[in-house]
Symmetry: C2
Subunit: 459 residues, 2 copies
Amino acid sequence: MFAKEIYTKRRDELKKSVPSGIVLLLGNGEAAVNYDGNPYAFRQDSSFIYYVGLDTPDLAYILDIDNDKEYLLGNELTIDDIIWMGNLPSLKDRAAEVGIETVVPFSQLATLISGSQQLHYLKPYRYRNQLILSELLNKNVTSVVAGYSVELTKAIIQMRLIKSAEELVELEDAGKTGYAMHIVAMKMCQPGVSEREIAGTIEGLAISEGTRVSFPTILSMNGQTLHNHDHSGILAPGRLMLCDAGAENGNYYASDFTRTTAVGGDYSQRQKNIHNIVLKALNDSIALTRPGITYKSVHRNAYKIVFEGLRDLGLVKGDTEDALNAGVPGLFMPHGLGHAMGLDVHDMEDLGETLVGYDDEIQRDTLFGYKSLRFGKRLEPGHVLTVEPGIYFVPQLIEKWEKEKINADFIHFSEVKKYLDFGGIRLEDDIVITEKGCRPVYGKRIPVTVEEIEQAVKN
Amino acid sequence: MFAKEIYTKRRDELKKSVPSGIVLLLGNGEAAVNYDGNPYAFRQDSSFIYYVGLDTPDLAYILDIDNDKEYLLGNELTIDDIIWMGNLPSLKDRAAEVGIETVVPFSQLATLISGSQQLHYLKPYRYRNQLILSELLNKNVTSVVAGYSVELTKAIIQMRLIKSAEELVELEDAGKTGYAMHIVAMKMCQPGVSEREIAGTIEGLAISEGTRVSFPTILSMNGQTLHNHDHSGILAPGRLMLCDAGAENGNYYASDFTRTTAVGGDYSQRQKNIHNIVLKALNDSIALTRPGITYKSVHRNAYKIVFEGLRDLGLVKGDTEDALNAGVPGLFMPHGLGHAMGLDVHDMEDLGETLVGYDDEIQRDTLFGYKSLRFGKRLEPGHVLTVEPGIYFVPQLIEKWEKEKINADFIHFSEVKKYLDFGGIRLEDDIVITEKGCRPVYGKRIPVTVEEIEQAVKN
């Protein structure tokens, strides 16, 4: 938790950006695994944490702008709770720690909002909160979800998108755990070790830090399968292990790194070649990123490096600009260069990816590959982003493009098909935009060159 | 997954026990952590797994008893899914593996149930499934929850409560991971080690086995705080570490063990004394447990051992039967001796703890302590139960009893208060009722005597 003043300042700023009505921020409740008494690890809503800072279930916050009042809604512990849960500070005291004076029982929610014609709430992504709003507003869930406040959403995105100095400290803290997770994964990347053993060890490491992973770990020899949470493989010589993993820190800030490691640290020439193209895309993207340019243009530049690198290897051909306009690199890197990161690993994705990543000036592209870029906006100091180029050989996609003759003039399919057993390589770092450029959001950089990774695996 | 015949046999049996109407089993969906794209680890509903065996999200099963038809509802993968998720078997093929021939899109749910006056569904514990049923039946959530089928619930409880030979194999498999978790925890139980490091390591171990914990790990020096998921302590000499932890296996079966370990393996005489009372309660309960007697009576016998053990130490006084009738042991062991275990660690708690644990013959007690016994029924071969006596010194509870003079004739409060810094000891094993008695549901027993635990910590 931050100092009280940080939360009061944030709420003051929010008040100014929403001119009238009542703002309702619903915290999260517990989420049952297989019965109510067996919940998943509690995770507070990120906007609630940002403005209210309290990370226990079943809270809500009301900012009554018209009457200039604010309320924390929640129930005090009973004597039974104290017997079973020990002595804990009262909700009143906890509210005071974040600068909120008035605490009322959660049951007063309906009464408190009844006076207003204009209720601002965020799009609810938890079924529980959809149900609470549905009952509160006497609307069906579809209407409830559709009725979220665009005004409030935009105001919150604008604030949360620019990370303050104290937030950067938290992100770096999350980065430290992410670093430790990747170092352990590299050391364990030996023939015969199971993917799930490594995944379990590094997820356990995040829990050991008192937190949790910031997203389900991707750890697989099948890096070409992008939505892959299968860990059933046994690491085999000659293969690559793609590991995309990060942790939250104690204050809910995320880290998100990817490294791809040759099993046993033994890279083939072919693996080195692809690795070095991805590495150049990563490093050149970081070198290029600065305030004033758009991340969309940085993505395009990464595509350029991927295309030209693969052209040097004889997998593609033709003019770079023509190929970029035609979307050729999408075959090999069918995802965006990166996304905003903060209290969520895909920052504020619950509020709408396009509202976060695009605006009136910079619109989302429709072309395959480009359209998957989550964040394209013109960059400003304080933006925190991932940079995560990759090259993959997705058999189903290659087959489809060849069959449908997509971009056939640019692609040597016969050469590309020699890589069907390759898998994929992705390298990902986290950066913050500074006044003149950008800098990493972590302490030590995770080994990233072939030589560094070889050394990390073998030592 | 089991062989097809096991699922078809289970569904046949279910069909016989619900005479008419339509049975609807809803599988679970994904549960968002902080946005839809970032879900918790998927966990299928246990009854769905029991009858249908498929562990992917967004499925439902319909058994139309009147027309003797069954359907699996779910959506086939699209070509895009295959590109991002790799080649996976079709839903049709997966349904065939569990003996279901007819697969229809999930959207046909409303149509398929529209013909019946009598829809049997289970009480939904996930908000998502409450919403699906609310929309389907055009009722508010409160009515939906209240409208579950007691007939279906009782039929399922009766079937799931008796574990078959193949289920016992799965439970033993889950027990192996639980064993490994506890051995690691004991070895790490050294002064200066943080609780969260140990908790993270053993939860990671469950993930490394390809599964997950069967419930959030309790690992704390404050064992007296029964609902305690705080891991912020640093192990200190002289204290006890209570660890209540278990894993699910790949087929969703649970294990659940508790051991309490003196930090560094160094037990004081006082700790040994309390440990040995709890150990006697554990071993005597297991020795006593057999078909034909009630678990309620085994609980009462454990209370007897606790009372008499504490009387030997001078903490309580008076006649055993009088003390048991007055509920004196509840001060020291304010929970039940155990619960049913299977596909859920508290088996079928979603279906109603009292329906699972009690019946017309054996009713739940109302006296403090006794009322917390989750399972009191007359025992039958195939019941799987935890046995988990404990002795705790809960300052808030002791204070309350002393202040309110509860059972003051039986308790030497001045002596009891010398233990306010003690914490608590619980020891828990898992058993299955056999034809003549009971046996453990695991391979090797986790070290349980003071000597065995000392050795495990120090070696």
